[in-house]
Each structure stands twice: as structure tokens, then as C-alpha cells.
């Protein structure tokens, strides 16, 4: 019997190694796998390269991981967020590197990485500072820059409902980067509010087929970043 369920978030992230590239789902708090991130803080891996659209807020979740100085490199499109003080401080102290990528290019690079496409051309950022130093090429009279696929050693995502084969459906705009990060992660780990029996998910409506997911862990009432931040919580 194929069963990708693991019994705890600690077990789920146990083998994340120092220097690993880790994609973390979420756009703002929607889809942020906070419990997996907190488990990663407990686990201790350091010198990580993290891919996420933002840099977290307050001192929980991704922001807490950054505050704990586990993240050497941050690849994201929008590191500034309201309630984001952790990243700016480390950035100004040169304790964290930033690779700024336009959001659509970031999404496409992740999808390409998961799809075996090493590189592609995009019109985004041509003629801007973020296109500088990149190969330019004309197609039908228009300039495009070459961008490379992005993969990760681990992807941490948050689903709504999963099954033991790793099939996942999401909640509304919490979907965002999760399906493509699942594709790009060598080991994709999903927390889910509910893990159901095989066959309960309708095969027509599964968003992430299980082939992209290696581990599933049930986290019944996942915390919300904004609630924790409003309550002044920090982690650990």
C-alpha cells in the first residue's frame, strides 16, 4: 500500500540538510505552511536558500526562520510586506542575500524546473535593471530575456485536503505557488488540514496529482500568520 502520510511535521522535515534549497508555498499568509516552517526551525537546518514570494511577516513562520538566521539566500519577488521587519534588518546588515525575481518569471521558472525545461525566454524585465546581464534574444521583432528553470531539494506547501497518495486540493487563493512548487521540489512535503481516504477526492478536481508529492502530514487547525502576528506571537 502506497502511503505517503507521516505522523508529525517534525518527521516530515527531518532530513532537510544544511545548504538545501527549500521552496515554501504561500502568497502573504494565504497558503503559508506555518507548522512545517516551525518544524524546520526546530530541526535546525541552516544556510538555506529559500524561495517564496515574500519574506514573511511578524516573527512567525518564514519571518521566524529568517530571524533564526537559517536563510542565507532569499529568492522572491516582493520582500517588503507590512509587518515585515526581520528581513530588512538582516538585509541591511548583509546577513542575507536577495535574488529579486519578477513574480511571473519566478512562477514560470518554478514551473519550468518541475517540467524538465532548463530555460525559456520571457518578455518580462527586458530593458529594466532586473533584465540586465541576461541574454537578450529577438523573436518576431520583440526582445526577450533568457531565464532558467528553478528546482529545489525540498518544497513545503499547505493543502486543504490530501490523501495517502499525495493528491491535494487547496483552499481558494492559498493555492498560489503550491502546485508548481510541488512539481519543482525533489522532496515535496505538504501539510493538509484534512487527510482523507483514497478515492474520496474526485479525480477530476485534484489540483496536485500525488506524483508530485512525497510526504503528507495532517495539521488539523493550521495557524494563520496574521492571527499570530496580531497576538504578538513569536517562534520559537
Amino acid at each position: 500500500m502506497i502511503d505517503k502520510r507521516v505522523s508529525s511535521v517534525a518527521e516530515a522535515v527531518a532530513d532537510v540538510f544544511d545548504g538545501a534549497t527549500v521552496m515554501i508555498g504561500g502568497f502573504g499568509e494565504a497558503g503559508s505552511p506555518i507548522e512545517l516552517i516551525h518544524a524546520l526551525i526546530d530541526q535546525g537546518a541552516t544556510n538555506l536558500t529559500v524561495v517564496n514570494n515574500n519574506t514573511g511577516s511578524g516573527e512567525v513562520g518564514l519571518a521566524a526562520l529568517i530571524k533564526a538566521k537559517r536563510v542565507a539566500n532569499m529568492i522572491c519577488s516582493y520582500p517588503r510586506t507590512s509587518n515585515s521587519t526581520v528581513f530588512p534588518e538582516l538585509y541591511h546588515n548583509k546577513e542575507i542575500n536577495l535574488e529579486l525575481v519578477p513574480q511571473g518569471t519566478l512562477a514560470e521558472r518554478i514551473r519550468a524546473g518541475g517540467s524538465g525545461i532548463p530555460a525559456f525566454y520571457t518578455p518580462t524585465a527586458v530593458g529594466t535593471p532586473l533584465g540586465e546581464g541576461k541574454e537578450l534574444r529577438l523573436f518576431k521583432g520583440r526582445n526577450y530575456v533568457l531565464e532558467h528553470g528553478l528546482t529545489a531539494d525540498f518544497a513545503l506547501i499547505k493543502g486543504q485536503t490530501a490523501d495517502q497518495h499525495g493528491n491535494i486540493v487547496y483552499n481558494k487563493t492559498a493555492r498560489n505557488f503550491a502546485p508548481i512548487m510541488a512539481m519543482a521540489g525533489k522532496v515535496t512535503i505538504s501539510q493538509a488540514a484534512q487527510v482523507v481516504d483514497l478515492g474520496e477526492l474526485d479525480p477530476e478536481t485534484i489540483i496536485t496529482p500525488g506524483i508530485f508529492v512525497q510526504r503528507v502530514v495532517e495539521v488539523r487547525n493550521p495557524a494563520l500568520e496574521s492571527t499570530l502576528v496580531a497576538a504578538g506571537e513569536t517562534y520559537p
Binding site: 502568497f27 502573504g28 499568509e29 494565504a30 497558503g31 519577488s77 516582493y78 520582500p79 517588503r80 510586506t81 507590512s82 528581513f87 530588512p88 538585509y91 541591511h92 536577495l98 529579486l100 525575481v101 519578477p102 513574480q103 511571473g104 518569471t105 519566478l106 512562477a107 514560470e108 518554478i110 514551473r111 520571457t122 518578455p123 518580462t124 524585465a125 527586458v126 530593458g127 529594466t128 535593471p129 532586473l130 487547496y170 483552499n171 481558494k172 487563493t173 492559498a174 493555492r175 498560489n176 505557488f177 503550491a178 502546485p179 508548481i180 489540483i207 494563520l224 496574521s226 492571527t227
Partner: protein, 214 residues
Amino acid sequence: MKCKTRDEMAQRLAQDISDGAYVNLGIGIPELVTKYVPNGREFIYHTENGLLGMGPSPEEGKGDHELINAGKRQVTALPGAAYFHHADSFSMIRGGHLDLCVLGALQVASNGDLANWSTGVANAIPAVGGAMDLVAGVKSIYVLTQHCTKNGEPKLVDACTYPLTGCGVVNRIYTDLAVIEVTLKGFQLVELSDGVPYQYVQDRTGAPLLPIKE
């Protein structure tokens, strides 16, 4: 002379959006456009974090923390809405499927260059989000902005001094003073706000402003 308020600017812009258009609204003044959909028209709003058919903010306490817009504010989903992932969302943007994007601006040049993501200050943390993808991919780019900065500097310039978001991408500019089309010949005045003289706008514009065509 009656300079337009932010709401009036948004209302004026909304009149130029055709029925059935797929529209992405930037954060800030552009969001006001939703208040002024002309009678008999319907626009479908796209938010790049994965929703088409975005509706207004939910009633207090009735929202979902995971149903948000690109500005990370809670929104609703209208009948006919659809959720999708980020790669599909930017396929819509980059693939030219959206009709219109309304954005704010730091500067717009007379050749259509847009700067709206960074002031280039050495110590600032750069943050671009989806702006570069939007201007590269969406069919029409309308800028909705005050004509001048708070310090009275022109935002419409000969050449942008701030880092660019995209080259030659802006189609129209809606300000408190005027509606301006970006043409091959430069800024083309389309309309002046009530009682605003041409010269008043030209004086506040950092590049030649072609008078309204007769």
C-alpha cells in the same frame, strides 16, 4: 479650475474600459475603479495571486484569510469566478489574455517607459512583485496617478530617471489634470479636467504635450 479627486480620476478611467473586459488593478488608486463601473457594463477582475472574478471586500468577519488579492487584502469571489495557480495566472498576464492593467506610477516617459517599482535609493529594499510581468503582457496599460509628485515634480517626463518597470509599455495616463495618450510622437493630450488650461498642464509636464486634436 477643477482638478479631479482620486475618485474622479478612477471614475474617468472606468469610462474607457469596454464591457466584458478582463482587468487587473494595481494597489492604491487603481482599486477605486471598481466603484465606478459604468451602467450596463461588466468587468471581470483578475488578481495575480490566483483569482479571476474577484469581488469586493467581504463583510466584516465574513472573510477568509486565504481569499485575498495581490495587495493581500481579503476579497470575495463572484459567481463565475475561478481559482488557479501562479503559473497559470501569469500565463494569463504574459500571454496577452488580460485586456487592461491599471497601475500607479512614479514616472512615465513620453515614449511609454514606466517606472513604478523602485526609487533606486541605494539602501532601499527592492521589491517588484508582478508589475514587470503585467506591463510586459497585458494588452493595454493605463496609468492612474497624480500629475505631479507631492513635491510638485512632474511624473510625466522626457525620460525616466528611476529604474524602469518596462519599456514603451504605457498606453494612457489618467491624472487629476488630464487624460493623456502615449503616442509615437509623445504625450498627446486627450482631455483636460474641467477648466484646467492647457498651459497649466504643460507647465507641470516634463515633456512636450501635444494639444488636443481638433
